[in-house]
């Protein structure tokens, strides 16, 4: 039996299109089956988990219990970055007026979606909320699809870096007077002047004004944000947190997978089993012989099976003794609890003990 429950937090990472969300759900189901009260949280914008677990829109941004019939109970929550951000603003703003100022700033809608790492950061913020209330034995977090899987990991550090940077101190200065005119920036020296002059010329004052207003409205929230980000960074490195890295067997994915595995470990995180998902099965050796001209499809499948075998072998060789689990490409993606349980069973059997 796999000691999945030894970990109170399982973070599922990997690049887009490798089946992270479904795998996170299967891992959570296994944890619940082992007797732990488990929560699975997903950031999948397509809300795939909603269909797989049959939880519907009501699980958006809150925990909904799934009737799994397992020893431990299981909950699911669909994360919504914007809603989490809004809630944080309301919680940390000193008063309603300050909260409203932020929420109605015309840049807020864009910034809350585009500010580097916000989506990833919101995942960890939300994670912190549920992890700190201690209701669950195990939390499985499906991370947002990022172009680079590392984005997620670096989000708290990046937010801390941003909060600590000189940029923020400058943004918080009273740049504009009551009439909305730019105040003299001479006190920032020639560099300050040229930067400001450049922004003025290229961007126009109105954008700058809105940005300054946004950051100032945000001012009172920074301390809370910073503290949280630090705690979250520690949580991700805690001894009861494990990362499950998901990939596929194609050879071109190997360098990226190895890179991410190495970075995870180097940055002080615990790397659990590496999962090679959606592997095409290999053709049976005795079959090709005696078959009259195999169909195009059979040829393609044989090629895919051989390709995936090659990729998997290479990855295993490079990972040395580290556990690498392969999961087959299922005929149909799990669309309900019973098909998810099928994937869970395969996974449970292959997880290292």
């Amino acid at each position: 039996m796999t000691p999945l429950l030894d970990h109170s937090l399982v973070v599922v990472v990997g690049s887009g299109g490798v089946g992270k969300t479904t795998l996170a759900a299967a891992l959570a189901l296994e944890a619940a089956r082992q007797g732990g009260d488990t929560l699975v949280m997903t950031f999948d914008p397509s809300m795939r988990l909603k269909d797989t677990l049959g939880v519907g829109e009501r699980a958006r941004d809150r925990e909904v219990e799934i009737r799994t019939g397992t020893r431990g109970r299981m909950w699911a929550s669909l994360l919504d970055a914007r809603a989490t951000f809004d809630r944080l603003v309301r919680r940390y703003a000193p008063d309603d007026e300050a909260a409203t100022r932020i929420l109605t700033n015309r840049l807020y809608a864009h910034l809350s979606g585009t500010l580097a790492g916000v989506l990833e950061y919101m995942a960890v913020e939300r994670l912190f909320e549920v992890a700190s209330d201690g209701r669950y034995d195990c939390v499985v977090l499906d991370t947002p699809p990022t172009r680079q899987a590392l984005d997620f990991l670096e989000a708290p550090d990046r937010i801390i870096g941003f909060l600590d940077s000189g940029a923020l101190r400058i943004a918080l200065k009273p740049w504009f007077d009551r009439e909305g005119h730019l105040r003299g920036a001479s006190r920032f020296g020639p560099v300050g002047r040229s930067v400001e002059h450049f922004f003025d010329r290229v961007v126009g004052l109105s954008l700058l004004r809105d940005m300054a207003e946004f950051f100032q409205a945000f001012g009172p929230l920074y301390a809370g944000f910073r503290e949280r980000a630090t705690e979250v960074a520690a949580l991700l490195r805690a001894s009861r947190t494990v990362f499950v890295l998901v990939t596929r067997a194609e050879e071109e994915r190997i360098p990226e997978t190895l890179f991410f595995a190495r970075r995870l470990v180097e940055s002080g995180h615990r790397l659990g089993p590496l999962v090679v998902n959606m592997r095409h099965p290999e053709p049976a050796r005795d079959r090709a012989r005696g078959t009259v001209s195999p169909d195009d499809g059979d040829q393609l499948m044989a090629w895919l099976g051989a390709r995936d075998r090659r990729g998997l072998d290479r990855l295993r060789a490079r990972m040395a003794t580290h556990p690498v689990i392969d999961l087959p490409l299922l005929a149909e993606e799990p669309t309900g609890l019973s098909s998810l349980d099928h994937l869970r069973a395969i996974l449970a059997e292959r997880l290292p003990s």
């Binding site: 397509s46 580097a116 172009r147 940029a167 004052l205 079959r287 195009d296 059979d298 393609l300 993606e333």
Partner: protein, 300 residues
């Protein structure tokens, strides 16, 4: 008019779709087709993890323009790089530019300003096409855009920015780019998908959102990686692999049916070919895609 002729009349193609469906392969294949007809084509890649060069058999770009054929060029471009050039062009003093670019204010501004990165990339494509880029020109730019959500932000960024900023060169540029992207005669949006549930769902959602924000449906849908049709479905296949193929093909057909009912624009199909990722892949797909485009008619 055939789809091939329609695409040939455009100057800017934006290729997007869910991650892992083959956007880069389709971009490279379109690049091969267009340059094969003698159009000077620039393939623009924005993913910092370069991979288009592998599909063209050339060295990674690292920001430089790389020649990949008689009329085909490749460039991997990071927004940061474009914006630094803008700073240099405006300040004209080298030491001052260096200090601006190195300042944390600049860095965080680039990160935080909504739409700035998208505008930088689109602006570069636009300057290349209008002959305003230094030492660079092209008849056609094919942008291998980020995955669906980010791909759409790329297309709507000029409009969003020009709504917020009306004054200054930045606002002016945003307006100009919004008009360029909005002009269906110049800019074509190509959505790549696979005939599977989630990619099709995302493709349809992208098209609907594009209809809302740009007022039109994507110009082309490429359904990539189709398993070969099953000729004889009688009896139960004796091997696991054959069963997997049959089920996967059945999913393909179900999703093609869904697209047939819901996709309101032209679409073409590409087979799953047993060729490793590399220059041979777009070379093999180019005649197939070209033929499909020549056969398909633009819906009026």
């Amino acid at each position: 008019m055939s789809l091939l002729a329609d695409l040939a009349s455009r100057r800017f193609l934006v290729v997007t779709g869910k991650g892992g469906v083959g956007k880069s392969v389709v971009s490279a294949t379109l690049g091969r087709i267009a340059s094969g007809e003698g159009r000077h084509t620039l393939l623009l890649e924005v993913d910092p993890r370069e991979n288009l060069h592998e599909l063209l058999g050339v060295a990674p770009s690292g920001g430089e323009v790389v020649t990949a054929g008689p009329a085909l060029r490749l460039q991997n471009l990071q927004p940061r790089q474009v914006l630094e050039q803008v700073v240099r062009d405006h300040l004209r003093i080298e030491w001052l530019s260096k200090r601006v670019v190195a300042s944390p204010v600049f860095e965080h501004f680039v990160d935080a300003a909504p739409g700035l990165k998208e505008l930088a990339i689109l602006g570069h494509a636009y300057r290349v096409l209008t002959g305003k880029a230094r030492r660079q020109s092209a008849d056609l730019v094919i942008l291998d855009a980020p995955a669906t959500g980010h791909g759409l932000s790329m297309l709507t960024a000029p409009q969003v920015v020009s709504d917020v900023i009306k004054e200054g060169p930045f606002g002016h540029m945003a307006g100009e780019l919004a008009a360029f992207i909005g002009n269906a005669a110049e800019t074509g949006v190509v959505v790549v998908t696979q005939a599977e549930e989630m990619p099709v769902q995302e493709g349809l959602e992208l098209a609907q959102r594009m209809q809302l924000s740009l007022g039109r449906w994507p110009e082309l849908l490429v359904v990539n990686g189709l398993y070969p049709p099953v000729r004889d479905r009688r009896g139960s296949p004796d091997s696991e692999l054959t069963r997997l193929w049959h089920t996967r093909r059945a999913i393909n057909e179900r999703e093609l049916g869904r697209l047939g009912a819901l996709w309101r624009g032209p679409r073409v199909e590409l087979p799953f070919v047993p060729i490793d990722r590399g220059p041979a892949l777009p070379t093999a797909l180019a005649p197939v895609l070209r033929h499909a485009l020549a056969e398909a008619e633009v819906l009026v």
